[in-house]
């Protein structure tokens, strides 16, 4: 419905008419009341003056029995003034007539003519009783009371006069009001409304964007001029802003295009929900990998439909335990951490429409408005199927490495046991079994068996796939890792030089760090095997050093270093400089991932030339920096 606005002229007219009417009415009422009070006061004063004057004149006439004379005087007074009646009580005449007083006087009849007052006339007396004002004076001469004289004022005359005043006031008020309204209206129209009207005429002639075509000319009063100037400034400013806006719009459109392109072509699955979790948007990557179209999910489902139910239940229990309050296995589970403004990045398993399981690394962020209120969530998921595969391969490779190491470690004790067993057999065949030798041999066999068992425990620990985070000592972990790989190094005549004076305890996964150290030292071993001749000294240096950031672990070798041209690629998956028979290209990739993603640590590699025992060596140095929790 269109909003009907009232014309300024009409509004002004109403305001002027109302204001003038109210002011004039108040003025008229005030004048009327004043006039009325003045009339009443005048009437009373005149009446009193009249009756006092009359009393003086009547006194002698009363004394001289000149009844007709004072009657005439009374008539004259009533005629001359607005008196309703004058009544004289003449005690002298009363004595003559045998009454207390001879009562005479004049009264106005209904036709306003003056007639004799008749004391026995009920109507006359009623009229006197109803008079607005009356006053009585004694007529005294020489101390003798000759009679009384009473004056009566009717409000009829006053009312008539007041009615006339009302009519006159009304006429005058109406005329003055009309004139005032006219003058005010014309003046305001001329000085205010017309310039405004002119401005309106000009600003209504506008272009397709609704901006006035012409500038508003300066005219009228100072204020109107100021308004005109301000409006012109505003219009020009709007015109300039419009240009800027168009440019911004273009830029914004480009940015949106870029954003949309990023959204759709990032290679990540992106899903945006409202604050209740209902999916509002999902990018092409998500549609492609999950097999759902937008129409199937948007405004219908929460991302819960995309997750593995058993995983949801399991993680809700975990999170409930972690946060110490119940997290239900629904959409709340996904956003609980985001709502607490905590980094919310976890591995999940998506289930495609076709039922296929995809491991993803999902980062969920809360979307907030200017008031810092959450209006939705954005989930960015990376398909980590490949990484998982690498991890698996890496683990297998590590296991192979471990088995090789175990083989190395087992070879000597098994050899010892075999030798003792052969010795015992030989002595048995020679019937030369000596109990004391036998006990020593058994003790040696048990010791070697224990060593074998310990080696298996180490292996078990390594292959144990646990997600439990522990408080781990970097130095201790290094020693554990080296205890596994040392036999293999020793087998290749590689001397391990340790300097583990500094240590740091962090939260992490010990077996993953062991894998990191084994991978790096294995790579060093391979480099040494390949580049250092049999006669030359072979070294691997392992050193820890406290720094400002935390603790730096240096693992370096004298294997000659890495080619500078491939240095930047060595952490890429499947990149290897080794022969295919010994290198998979997964090891350093896993190292990088374990350190950066699971332990908040950084790793860099560079070639270093250094001196050891007065000899100069060159090799690769891996620097790992752990930060305290």
């Amino acid at each position: 419905m269109k909003n009907q606005k009232q014309s300024l002229y009409l509004t002004l007219g109403i305001i002027i008419i109302t204001t003038v009417s109210i002011i004039m009415s108040i003025n008229a009422t005030y004048n009327y009341v004043n006039t009325k009070n003045k009339i009443i006061n005048d009437m009373k004063n005149n009446s009193r003056t009249t009756i006092l004057s009359l009393k003086n004149n009547v006194t002698n006439l009363l004394a001289s029995y000149a009844i007709n004379e004072y009657d005439k005087l009374i008539t004259n007074e009533i005629e001359r003034r607005k008196i309703f009646a004058i009544v004289v009580k003449d005690f002298n005449m009363g004595k003559i007539t045998g009454k207390k007083a001879y009562i005479s006087g004049k009264i106005r009849s209904s036709s306003a003519s003056i007639i004799n007052y008749d004391a026995s006339n009920v109507q006359h007396n009623e009229q006197l009783d109803n008079c607005f004002f009356s006053d009585t004076f004694d007529i005294v001469l020489g101390g003798k009371k000759l009679g009384t004289i009473s004056i009566y004022i009717s409000d009829e005359t006053m009312n008539k006069e007041l009615r006339q005043i009302i009519i006159d006031t009304f006429k005058n008020t109406a005329i003055i009001s009309l004139l005032m309204i006219l003058v005010l209206f014309l003046t305001i129209r001329s000085f205010i409304l017309r310039p405004i009207s002119d401005i309106t005429d000009i600003i209504t002639k506008c272009d397709k964007d609704g901006l006035p075509i012409q500038s508003i000319p300066n005219s009228g009063s100072k204020e109107i001029n100021s308004l005109t100037l301000t409006m012109n400034t505003m219009i020009n400013s709007i015109k300039d802003s419009r240009l800027v806006l168009k440019e911004s719009e273009s830029k914004l459109f480009q940015a949106l295009e870029i954003q949309t392109t990023i959204f759709d072509s990032s290679g990540y699955m992106m899903i945006r929900t409202n604050k209740d979790g209902i999916i509002q948007q999902l990018n092409k990557e998500a549609q492609k990998l999950l097999g759902y179209s937008s129409d199937e999910l948007i405004d219908i489902h929460t991302p819960q439909i995309l997750h593995l139910k058993s995983e949801i239940i399991h993680k809700s229990k975990e999170l409930t335990k972690e946060l110490s309050y119940e997290i239900k296995p629904n959409f709340d589970l996904f956003v609980a951490m985001s709502n607490l403004s905590v980094i919310n990045e976890h591995e999940w398993t998506y289930v495609t429409k076709q039922g296929k399981h995809i491991p993803v690394f999902l980062s969920i962020s809360a979307l907030k408005n200017k008031e810092n209120e959450i209006y939705g969530y954005l989930g960015i998921a990376k398909d980590i199927s490949e990484r998982k595969l690498i991890e698996s391969q890496s683990r297998l490779a590590s296991m192979g490495e471990m088995i090789g190491n175990i083989a190395h470690q087992w070879r000597q004790p098994l050899s010892v046991i075999s030798t003792i067993a052969s010795g015992v057999k030989l002595r048995s065949e020679m019937d030369n079994l000596d109990e004391s030798h036998m006990r020593q041999d058994m003790h040696t066999i048990m010791k070697q068996s224990q060593y074998l068992s310990d080696t298996i425990d180490d292996f078990k620990n390594f292959v144990k796939n646990t997600n439990d985070i522990d408080q781990i000592s970097i130095s201790g972990t290094i020693e554990k890792a080296l205890s596994i790989i040392k036999p293999s190094l020793k087998n290749h005549d590689i001397t391990t030089v340790l300097d583990l004076k500094d240590d740091l305890t962090i939260s992490g996964f010990e077996n993953q760090l062991i894998q990191v150290i084994i991978n790096i030292t294995s790579n060093a071993k391979d480099a040494i095997k390949e580049c250092v001749s049999e006669k030359e000294d072979k070294y691997i240096f392992v050193e820890t050093k406290s720094t400002k950031e935390g603790l730096s672990l240096y693992i370096k070798d004298n294997g000659g270093g890495i080619e500078e041209t491939v240095m930047h690629r060595i952490f890429e998956p499947y990149f290897t400089t080794k022969h295919q028979s010994i290198g998979t290209g997964i090891g350093l990739s896993m190292v990088h991932q374990i350190l950066t993603q699971n332990h908040n640590a950084s790793i860099e590699v560079y070639n270093e030339t250094f001196k050891f025992n007065e000899k100069e060596y060159t090799g690769a140095c891996f620097q790992i920096t752990f930060k305290p929790d």
Binding site: S64, Y65, A66, I67, N68, E69, D71, K72, N92, M93, I96, T97, G98, N116
Partner: protein, 327 residues
């Protein structure tokens, strides 16, 4: 039995009705006005009123009314008292010659309230209800006597001389009319007036002083007109004392018995004589007619006798009866 009972009741009703009618008639008789006329007069000692009373009495007798004079003795209070007395006497009618026309209004009001008709004889009333007002035609009378003076002055070739007037109070209507009629006659003859003095004290001394003043103040004064009769001697003495006996004419209004001697001698050359006896008779007759239910005129003006040296002998019988009341 029932019929008898009704007859008894009818008889009793008739007797009661008769008794009631009788008593009502008696009451009416008692309430009925006495067949009496009252004459309320301002002062009966004044001959004019005494003569008028005679005329009223004569006519009342003829009409069969009792007559009583209620003398106010020239007192307003007494006048009101006698008016109340006349009303209380329940007279048939009142003829009033009031102390003044204003006082007459009160008399008329009181009489009207009592339901007594009033005929005003001379003086008049400022207002009020009355049956008839009997008065002299003062204007005409004064005019006529003025003409007598004009004739006399022309005879003496004194038409260029001035005429002074010693007047009754000009507040009174009769005074105003007398002056107007007299001046009219002078105007017609183109004779100028000198001065007009009004009686205040009503004494011969006052008349003497006024006359003397005018004679002294106006050397060309040829005549003095007295608007009344009884104070004539003051004027005559002044004229005589100032040695103007043959140079100033005296003319008067109304009459004194002595005028029957003075006018023929030319001491007073003439007088306009009201006829109080005739006025009294006319007042009573008019009242009689009114009381008999006849229609009467509201204003009756009786002529004034213009008496001069030339006609006094001829008019003497009329003067005796109507002016002086000599029956």
């Amino acid at each position: 039995m029932t019929v008898f009972k009704y007859l008894i009741m009818l008889l009793l009703f008739s007797i009661l009705s008769f008794t009631h009618a009788s008593s009502t008639n008696n009451a009416k008789t008692n309430l009925h006005k006495q067949k009496k006329l009252a004459y309320i007069v301002s002062d009966i000692r004044i001959p004019f009123w005494k003569i008028m009373a005679k005329g009223i009495k004569n006519a009342s007798d003829s009409l069969g009314y009792d007559f009583e004079i209620y003398d106010a003795q020239n007192s307003a209070k007494k006048e009101l008292e006698v008016t109340i007395k006349a009303i209380q006497d329940n007279v048939s009618g009142i003829i009033v010659s009031p102390t003044n026309s204003s006082a007459c209004v009160t008399i008329l009001k009181l009489a009207q309230n009592a339901g007594i008709p009033v005929v005003v004889a001379d003086i008049g009333a400022d207002s009020g209800e009355y049956v008839s007002y009997i008065s002299s035609n003062n204007r005409q009378g004064a005019y006529e006597i003025g003409k007598v003076l004009v004739k006399k002055m022309r005879e003496k070739n004194w038409q260029n001389g001035l005429v002074g007037i010693i007047a009754i109070p000009q507040k009174r209507l009769n005074g105003q009319e007398r002056t107007a009629g007299f001046m009219h006659a002078l105007d017609e003859a183109n004779i100028k007036g000198a001065d007009i003095k009004q009686f205040i004290k009503w004494t011969e001394e006052e008349t003497y002083n006024y006359s003397k003043e005018m004679i002294n103040n106006y050397p060309n004064l040829r005549a003095i007109w007295l608007q009344t009769s009884n104070l004539y001697d003051g004027a005559l003495r002044a004229i005589k004392d100032l040695g103007k006996k043959d140079e100033i004419i005296l003319i008067a209004f109304d009459a004194e018995p002595v005028f029957l001697d003075l006018i023929p001698k030319g001491v007073i050359i003439g007088s306009g004589m009201q006829q109080p006896y005739l006025m009294g008779e006319e007042a009573a007759t008019t009242m009689g007619k009114h009381l008999n239910g006849q229609k009467v005129e509201k204003n009756i003006q009786l002529p004034i006798l213009t008496i001069s040296t030339d006609n006094i002998a001829k008019k003497l019988p009329l003067i005796h009866r109507n002016v002086l009341g000599m029956e």
